[in-house]
Symmetry: C2
DNA sequence: CGAATCGTTCGATGTTCGTAGAACGTCGAA
DNA sequence: TTCGACGTTCTACGAACATCGAACGATTCG
C-alpha cells in the first residue's frame, strides 16, 4: 500500500529522477525548495488541486529528491540537495540553472510568511 | 503529419529534454553518441524492435538532443552536444556522468565497424 | 466530545507513452 | 525494371500518468 518511503542514497535512480523532473509543476517545486529552506506544505502555491499537489510531492519523494517531515497535522518539505549532489554530481544545479533560463516551473510559488 | 523536425536552439525546451532522457534506452543512445561521432542507424544495437528504435530516435530528435542526416537509404545520427550545452550548460555532461555511475542505458551499444 | 484543519488515499477519467508488427516509401543494385 | 535493404509511419494495445473530487484518518482546538 504505502510506497511513500524516502529512498536511501544508493537507491536513487537516474531514470526516476529524470522522470520526476520532466513535469513543469515538479520542477517548480524543486525550484522553490532550491534554497535549502524547509517549506510548509500549505505554503506551496500551484494551480492544481491539493490531491494533485500531494501526488507530485510523492513522486519527488519517491525519486529521492525531497524529504517530508510530519509535525502534527502539518508537514514540511525539504530538497535533498546534498544527497542528489552526492549521487549525481552537478545534475541538480544544472537542472535548476536550465529551469531558470527556460522559465520552467514559474507557476509554482510559496507563501513566504 | 510530419513533426520530425530539428528544433532550433532557442526552441529546445527543458521539459522535453528531461522527458526524452527519462527512458533508459534513450539515455543509452545518448551515451553511445556522447563521443561526438556520427553513428549509422544500422549500427545501433538495442533490445527493441526497429520501429521502437525509430520512435526513440524521433523523440530525441524532436527534443533537440540529436540530429539526423539522411544519405540515400541510410541515415546518420549525431548528438547535438554543443547546442544542448549552449542552451542548458552542464546538463548533458551531468546526465552522462550520472548514467555511467548508475549504469543507465547499458543495454544500448554500437557495432563499431 | 465535537468541529475544524491538514494532507493522503481512493476512484474515475482522459491522455500519453513504450512497445511491436505490418505496410509503406525510398533508394541502390542486379 | 525488379528486387532487396533501410528507415518511417500506421495501427493497436496495455501500462503509466496527470488530474480532479470525494472520502478518509490523524491531529489540534474549542
Amino acid at each position: 500500500m504505502r510506497a511513500a518511503e524516502h529512498p536511501d542514497l544508493t537507491e536513487i535512480g537516474l531514470t526516476e529522477v529524470m522522470a520526476a523532473l520532466s513535469d513543469p509543476i515538479r520542477v517548480g517545486l524543486v525550484r522553490v525548495l532550491a534554497d535549502g529552506e524547509e517549506r510548509g506544505w500549505g505554503e506551496l502555491r500551484a494551480p492544481i488541486a491539493k490531491s494533485t499537489l500531494s501526488h507530485h510531492l510523492r513522486v519527488l519523494r519517491d525519486a529521492g529528491l525531497t524529504r517530508t517531515r510530519k509535525e502534527g497535522t502539518r508537514c514540511w518539505v525539504t530538497l535533498r540537495g546534498d544527497d542528489v549532489e552526492a549521487r549525481f554530481p552537478g545534475l541538480l544545479s544544472a537542472v535548476l540553472t536550465a529551469a531558470q533560463a527556460d522559465g520552467t516551473g514559474h507557476q509554482v510559488s510559496v507563501d513566504t510568511d
